[in-house]
């Protein structure tokens, strides 16, 4: 089985420290890491490879500047077989749509039965790139995967997390799944794996290598319809209000009253 994992190299937000004297963020030397959900995707891919056996391979793909090389080396050191870096000046400034366009073009150049991405990146939190890649490639997709229940050469059964329940979804290969951090606890690199990682050539695909399928107006800033209006941190949602023991009519009245109270209607 040919598995492709798409990863993002992101600033380690866990390492953000407050200066105890000034109470400001210490930004100097903030290290970059493989995004947590993506690392879980790597682990899931490695386990599937080990389980299916044969000539299975895991190819890891990252889009980013040349410094993203270290993320690919880490993935190789965990046990991935091949690494591809999508890197070009023309790719800079891409939003999720332009990014997924580029990544899909890169993945299309590889052999794959299964594509795994992380659910979302800790620096953007959009959860859009994985599903968009699936759409570009015309693949069925299962997002929010928390467990691989079964895998064969023909299909995969995935437990998909949902707000108040889960779904068990069986999907034909090839397909794309987006991994939650809890899908698979990542292994450490191994010492020998790191040696091997630096002895492995990383394939670099730049704009020149993909321009046959990548119109300039679809990538980079030009291909990015998104305008960031405002950035904000995560807000706690709160527990919500539960209205129990109401008749359907009372429930309708209660909901309408709430909506009117909040000037929604």
């Amino acid at each position: 089985m040919k598995i492709v994992v798409y990863i993002k190299h992101v600033p380690d937000t866990n390492e953000v420290k407050l200066d105890p004297v000034t109470n400001t963020l210490i930004r100097d030397g903030l290290p970059s890491i493989i995004n947590h959900d993506d690392k879980s995707g790597i682990e899931a891919a490695l386990r599937i490879k080990e389980q299916v056996g044969g000539d299975s391979t895991v190819t890891v793909v990252c889009m980013g500047p040349p410094q993203a090389d270290v993320a690919l080396r880490e993935a190789l050191a965990m046990g991935c077989d091949n690494a591809v870096l999508l890197s070009s000046r023309e790719f800079g400034g891409s939003d999720t749509l332009a990014t997924s366009t580029i990544v899909a073009a890169g993945v299309a150049k590889l052999d794959y039965d299964l594509v795994i991405t992380g659910r979302q990146a800790i620096d953007g939190d959009t959860a859009q790139v994985g599903p968009q890649i699936a759409e570009h490639l015309g693949l069925p997709q299962v997002s929010y995967a928390e467990e691989v229940v079964e895998i064969t050469n023909d299909y995969i059964v995935v437990k998909r997390q949902f707000e108040d329940r889960y779904h068990i979804i069986k999907v034909k290969l090839p397909c794309l799944i987006t991994a939650l951090a809890e899908l698979a606890e990542p292994r450490y690199m191994s010492v020998a794996g790191i040696e091997k990682a630096y002895a492995t050539d990383i394939t670099v695909l730049d704009y020149e290598a993909m321009k046959d399928v990548l119109p300039l107006e679809k990538i980079g800033l030009n291909g990015s319809p998104t305008n960031v209006k405002r950035s904000f941190g995560k807000q706690a949602k709160g527990a919500g209000t539960v209205l129990a023991d109401l008749t359907p009519d009372e429930a309708v009245q209660a909901i309408i009253a709430k909506l009117e109270e909040k000037y929604i209607i």
Binding site: P20, Y188, S190, V191, A192, I194, E195, A197
Partner: protein, 381 residues
């Protein structure tokens, strides 16, 4: 290492060792010390990720890295748990390395592959109840008997001995020849007449295994003679040269670990209405300590690089161990002082680090032995 910066490979390996130690060792170190229990589950993970065969080539199932990486590994592990640090050091430097350097191809295939891959664990038996710094006074005897040697005697303070599978041990094959009558052997756990005693209660590195060995008419096949008969003393001395890089790295790790804990503490602890990090005494103490530790680390890295380059590194390793072990004892003692009463309590790790540091001035050659090696290399006689 022209510019004192680690290569990309070594940086990533350092990240692995650090993360592994913080995740796996830090949570268990205090309890393992308290209960004097060797953390076998964690040890198996150390093996699994290739930390028991760092400097050996893939040909012998090693990790294919080098002695500098090994030194960084022992430092990072020892920052959190010096007991695991010394266990890796002894396994690698004192058991696997002499087999790699002096073993024949059969011995390497039979023993080194299992050790370097981490399937089996190693120990080293030189010290005897009456032969410590004067290792030439070996009282263990090996007498040739056909195709075998019959081994009798006792060893003491043998790290890893309770769980080791493979031992490199020394005995007199011809007492009349003095140091030229000492030979090295590869022993296996379970050989008839070979017993391992109970752990020796100790001041520090209490989670490590450290027992005495007894040999009572142990039949050792000639095939297990390591190097030539009568060359054992040289093998032991060269092995210890390498071991000193490991112990020096352990000492640097203990000292750096104590400094890191202390920096955290002094920024939180308030006295006289100020954080104690605001007092110049605290600042200057820590500046002084970090300078010592950095100096020691550079000496250790110099020795490791010289070993990797197959240069003569004996005196360099001795200097590294002398400087690092004395830095570790001094730094950990001063860290306890900066913590005050809490430093003396077992609630914080610095008292353990202070107890762990002392042994680095003693084993694998005391500080006095290091000075003999260094002054000898200076032709000061």
């Amino acid at each position: 290492m022209v510019n004192f910066k680690l290569s990309n490979e070594l940086s990533l390996q350092q990240e692995l060792y650090r993360k592994f130690a913080e995740t796996e060792l830090k949570p268990i170190a205090a309890e393992a010390d308290e209960t004097e229990t060797f953390p076998m589950d964690v040890w198996k993970k150390v093996a699994k990720y290739g930390m028991l065969g760092i400097p050996f080539p893939a040909e012998y199932e090693g990790s294919g890295s080098n002695n500098l990486s090994y030194s960084i590994c022992v430092e990072e592990l020892s920052k959190q748990d010096a007991s695991i640090g010394v266990s890796v050091s002894v396994h690698t430097s004192l058991c696997s390395t002499p087999i790699f350097m002096f073993g024949n191809e059969d011995q390497k295939k039979k023993y080194l592959c299992d050790l370097a891959s981490g399937r089996k664990y190693g120990a080293f038996g030189l010290t005897e109840p009456n032969a410590g710094t004067d290792a030439s006074g070996q009282q263990s005897k090996a007498v040739k008997d056909g195709d075998n040697y019959i081994l009798n005697g006792a060893k003491i303070f043998i790290t890893n001995s309770a769980f080791a599978d493979t031992f490199v041990a020394f005995a007199m094959t011809d007492k009349s020849k003095g140091t030229k009558g000492i030979s090295a052997f590869i022993l296996e756990k379970g050989m008839e007449g070979f017993t391992v005693d109970k752990d020796i209660p100790r001041m520090g590195i209490r989670a490590a295994s450290n027992c005495g060995l007894a040999f009572e008419n142990v039949v050792v096949p000639e095939a297990n003679l390591l190097g030539k008969e009568g060359r054992g003393f040289g093998i032991a001395m060269q092995t210890l040269d390498g071991g000193r890089i490991g112990i020096a790295s352990q000492a640097v790790g203990i000292a750096q670990g104590a400094i890191n804990e202390t920096i955290k503490y002094v920024k939180e602890r308030k006295q006289f209405g100020k954080r104690i990090s605001q007092f110049q005494n605290t600042q200057f103490q820590l500046a002084d300590m970090q300078t010592k530790v950095d100096a020691a680390r550079l000496l250790v890295w110099r020795a490791a690089c010289a070993k990797d380059a197959h240069e003569n590194y004996s005196a360099l390793a001795a200097m590294a161990k002398l400087a690092a072990s004395e830095a570790a004892s001094d730094v950990t003692r001063r860290c306890v002082q900066l913590f005050g009463g809490y430093g003396y309590s077992r609630e914080y790790p610095v008292e353990r680090m202070m107890r762990d540091a002392k042994i680095t001035e003693i084993y694998e050659g005391t500080s006095e032995v290091q000075k003999m090696v260094i002054s000898g290399s200076m032709q000061v006689k």
